[in-house]
Symmetry: C2
Subunit: 200 residues, 2 copies
């Protein structure tokens, strides 16, 4: 910030905390708040406060649920509790839900192992997962972590942690994304698509 | 939103109002608010409320000033009040200030003319500008609107509105951006750079 207005600097610093707003757009967002009237601004802040107060993590799967309600997944009698899909974050869960092709339950880790950023196994919900699996009733674990170095390290860690539970562990299929061209794909993806080819 | 949690939906709808957050990142931002503790969240909202309350538009140049303070530009005795640089928005003003190469004063229009989005001359601070120019004391007007169809329409409108004031009106130089290659430049820019060439 170049403009020497303390209130403006405080506003910009606050907005900078929010992820996914690029530094190029900080001034645009500041302007958005400044041009709201006081009532609109109060309503904006009020909704954030109230919504967040009304949500909590489910003690079983660690995804979000209404404080006053039941878990959309764990407490749904139509869902198959014997298949647990492990995802890194809640947005990954949303990506899977959006497909309408999974009817089991979830386990949200809350991130992936990242020693450089100081994220160790204790920072994730791994103990909850282990207890959940040890409690029995689970037949298949889908390791749906991202295809990043961190995601793969987390997958390996979980596979190792639960190897004695003699569970059916699966992972997401790897290959060409739908709509993708061979030409523009990295060589590792093409290699995986080739070696893991299937009957037509 | 696919997940049927009313509080989460309210939170997402609130965040969707903020410009410059892409739909892909809405869940990430919601997660950011949800994982804050109540105190941090209160401080976040409090800063937005207080900062915005402490800022107001300067009645002369329409840029932001502290309610309790003077305008950084209009009330600065070191600035040349005879040169007014007209910009569309406050972020454009910041872009110019960042260069440290302008010592005049500003006039913030609050946008550009855009009939398709219903932005007509009355929605901009054009009347304030006209009164300011008619009050005298201004020798040069720099028309620093963006090189977009809307920006150029606004430039033409202002030039026409003030044509009887016999002022020295200038606009920003057009040509190759610093660091740009001819190869990647659109033909209109190359044409302008060529026709408006200057002595080396």
């Amino acid at each position: 910030m170049d403009i020497k207005l303390p209130s403006l600097q405080a506003l910009v610093r606050t907005i900078q905390q929010v992820p996914a707003i690029s530094p190029r757009h900080i001034h645009k967002v500041a302007h958005f708040f400044l041009t709201m009237n006081t009532l609109e601004r109060e309503q904006f802040c009020q909704t954030i406060m109230t919504s967040c107060k009304n949500l909590e993590e489910c003690v079983t799967c660690c995804s979000w649920k209404e404080v006053s309600g039941t878990c959309l997944f764990c407490d749904d009698p139509k869902r198959d509790k014997t298949i647990i899909c492990i995802v890194e974050t809640w947005h990954d869960l949303c990506s899977i839900e959006r497909t309408n092709s999974f009817n089991g339950v979830y386990h949200v880790l809350g991130g992936s192992l990242n020693p450089l950023e100081g994220i160790s196994p204790e920072d994730l919900t791994l103990m909850t997962l282990k207890q959940r699996v040890l409690a029995g009733g689970c037949k298949e674990l889908i390791l749906a972590m991202n295809q990043t170095p961190e995601g793969e390290a987390t997958t390996a860690f979980i596979a190792h942690m639960l190897k004695e539970c003699s569970l059916n562990m699966t992972c997401l299929a790897r290959g060409l994304p739908v709509g993708g061209s061979l030409e523009f794909m990295d060589k590792l993806t093409v290699h995986k698509a080739l070696t893991e080819r299937r009957a037509f």
